[in-house]
């Protein structure tokens, strides 16, 4: 209830008239922030939310940890003959999956934000219209990075040793985060189109879940029936998983990386302006 009184023990501070007068007249007159500094400020806002509610990182880290453990030890022996061999195959895949799942939450968070009064204030500020969106996606990218790092570290603990070492793993992680940044514009568009955070979550996972499973994240597509194999081979998520494996193992396929980056750029070019327009309309 907003009408709730000051709780007992809280300071019964009265706004001090002289101090208010002083604060008003001493107001600074800066030039409003440009695109970059405004986006960075919004990114900082995203980080603060993680700081205040660190639990929100749990769902984006625990699920992939469960997937790694379950798939490796439950199916590893059956699929690859040994859990260690399967871990080598699946870890880059789960890295892709877990980070891409996290992108859905960008749309959910944006949808939640829209129901709050603070968005009106942001929209009434003399800053570039795209800054709040760009900033929150920059903040989210840090979360993608965190969630990816957890997966790689867990893999290393379980015995995963990327052929290209730390540099390879970092490059794979970077590629996945860049792709996730592009994909998250799709979900921010959804986040502004749909009515409730739950609707965004459902629609988001309805799309991302089958796309992730119908890829080479978990299994080698050559074992699949023909039409399915054909689909899996052109699925951008397969390309991303293959490119990540390549970077981790040190046998990089430049063409695949180029395609992945082009898809990320295309998603951004199409969906960033749509999101910005929807956001501006309010």
């Amino acid at each position: 209830m907003t009408a709730k009184m000051t709780s007992p023990g809280a300071p019964l501070a009265m706004a001090d008239e002289t101090a208010v007068r002083q604060a008003i007249s001493s107001s600074p007159r800066p030039t409003p922030a440009g695109s970059l500094s405004a986006a960075l400020a919004f990114g900082w806002r995203g980080m603060l939310k993680v700081k205040h509610v660190p639990e929100q990182l749990l769902d984006v880290t625990i699920t992939p940890v469960m997937f790694v453990l379950m798939f490796t030890y439950l199916f590893g022996g059956a699929i690859e003959g040994s859990t260690a061999k399967y871990l080598d195959y699946i870890l880059p895949g789960i890295l892709v999956m877990s980070v891409l799942f996290t992108t859905v939450y960008s749309g959910v968070a944006l949808n939640t934000d829209q129901t709050k009064g603070v968005v009106d204030r942001f929209r009434s500020l003399p800053i570039p219209r795209s800054a709040p969106l760009l900033g929150s996606l920059l903040g989210d990218s840090v979360r993608y990075l965190l969630s990816g790092t957890v997966i790689i570290l867990l893999g290393v603990i379980l015995g995963f040793r990327p052929g290209a070492g730390v540099v390879g793993a970092a490059a794979a992680l970077a590629l996945v985060v860049v792709f996730a940044f592009g994909l998250s514009w799709v979900f921010t568009t959804l986040g502004l189109l749909l009515r409730s955070p739950n609707a965004v979550m459902n629609a988001g996972f309805m799309g991302i879940f089958p796309l992730t499973f119908l890829s080479n994240v978990f299994v080698d597509p050559t074992t699949l029936p023909g039409p399915l194999e054909a689909f899996v081979k052109v699925n951008p998520i397969s390309l991303l998983a293959t490119a990540s494996r390549g970077l981790m193992e040190g046998d990089v396929d430049g063409a695949k990386i180029a395609i992945v980056l082009s898809v990320a750029a295309a998603l951004t070019i199409v969906f960033a302006p749509i999101t910005t327009r929807l956001y501006r309309k309010g």
Partner: protein
């Protein structure tokens, strides 16, 4: 006569529809600089939508407006640079602390980090929020939230500030604090457009008032003119013994009867209220009210309680439209519901 340069807001024929509902249906407003201008109306009258159009958050479907000399559609950026908005839902981020909210706004408005921190500390201190600076805003009371909201609006003091129902839901003490802050802001030269449902609030703060109903301005003037157009204040009396009400009714009707030769036989219209001990009658003059009360006491009618009150928004509406203020279930009512659910 005010020239355009003296005007903070000049709006003509603003229209905004949501689906079938014409939320704002041709609003004209002229607001001089340096004053508080009240927009008075019930929920759903179109107040919030009008403010949102003037603050460049919503595009009007028709009509045009200039805010501080800038067109709200063509020169929206210039408008945004000179105004700030305190919305009906508190426009602060509940998931951040009070200090973080102010630092964030300072940085967005172009302050470097140390300057933004310093400004935040200064405002928190001035608004009595220093002790709560590190608490998340969602744990703030309604009054603290409002004060933070207003502090957020003056991180860089605007030329024009939109205040949408700044005291709805506040206890009287917090309400008085908000009123004090508004008075200081105006004294320091900020123009304020104040939306409110309370005639008393507009009366306390505003120099001019527009009464808005069904998306249209139905009356305009100073608080005094409005109250005069509504007629007099009401004398409310509560008796000790309900059995004495008929006698009290007779005495009040005579004592508060309209004066003048034409009104010799007239009696004041006394209203018997739902409470069997309560009755009220129009009373424009405090002296005559006192005399009427003395008359009751003299006749042995025991009085439990009395008051001479200003007309309420309901009475203003009754006088202006012939019907009570009604709550339209439009988006504004929806916003209030949301706030109450929160």
């Amino acid at each position: 006569m005010a020239t355009p340069a003296d005007l903070a807001i000049e709006a003509e024929g603003l229209v905004k529809s949501f689906g079938e509902t014409r939320a704002v249906d041709g609003v004209d407003l002229i607001v001089p600089r340096g004053s508080v201008y009240g927009v008075l109306g019930p929920n759903g009258a179109g107040k919030t939508t009008t403010i949102r159009m003037l603050a460049t958050l919503t595009r009007p479907d028709a009509g045009h407006a200039r805010v501080l000399g800038h067109d709200i559609v063509q020169e929206a950026d210039a408008v945004r640079a000179a105004v700030s908005l305190t919305g009906q839902l508190a426009s602060v981020d509940e998931d951040l602390t009070g200090r973080e909210n102010l630092i964030l706004l300072g940085r967005l408005l172009g302050l470097k980090r140390p300057a933004a921190k310093e400004r935040a500390a200064e405002l928190l201190e001035a608004f009595g929020l220093s002790a709560a600076a590190s608490k998340l805003v969602k744990h703030y009371s309604g009054g603290m939230r409002r004060r933070l909201d207003i502090a957020a609006s003056i991180v860089v003091t605007p030329e024009l500030m939109f205040l949408d129902e700044p005291t709805t839901g506040l206890d009287p003490r917090s309400r008085n604090q908000v009123w004090d802050i508004i008075r200081v802001l105006v004294a320091e030269g900020t123009t304020i457009l104040l939306c409110t449902q309370y005639l008393e609030e507009a009366d306390q703060l505003a120099e001019g008032i527009a009464v808005i109903d069904n998306g249209k301005v139905i009356a305009e003037g100073t608080p005094g003119q409005l109250k005069a157009s509504v007629g007099s204040s009401l004398l409310h009396v509560r008796l000790l013994d309900p059995a004495q009400r008929p006698e009290a009714e007779r005495l009040l009707a005579r004592a508060l009867a309209p004066c003048g030769p034409a009104a010799r036989e007239a009696l004041a219209p006394v209203t018997l209220e739902a409470d069997p001990t309560a009755l009220s009658a129009p009373c424009s003059d405090a002296d005559r009210g006192a005399a009427a009360l003395a008359g009751l006491a003299g006749a042995g009618v025991g009085i439990a309680d009395f008051s001479l009150g200003q007309p309420s928004l309901d009475e203003v509406f009754l006088a202006l439209t012939g019907r009570p203020a009604h709550d339209v279930p439009a988006e504004e009512a929806g916003a209030i519901d949301e706030e109450q659910r929160a």
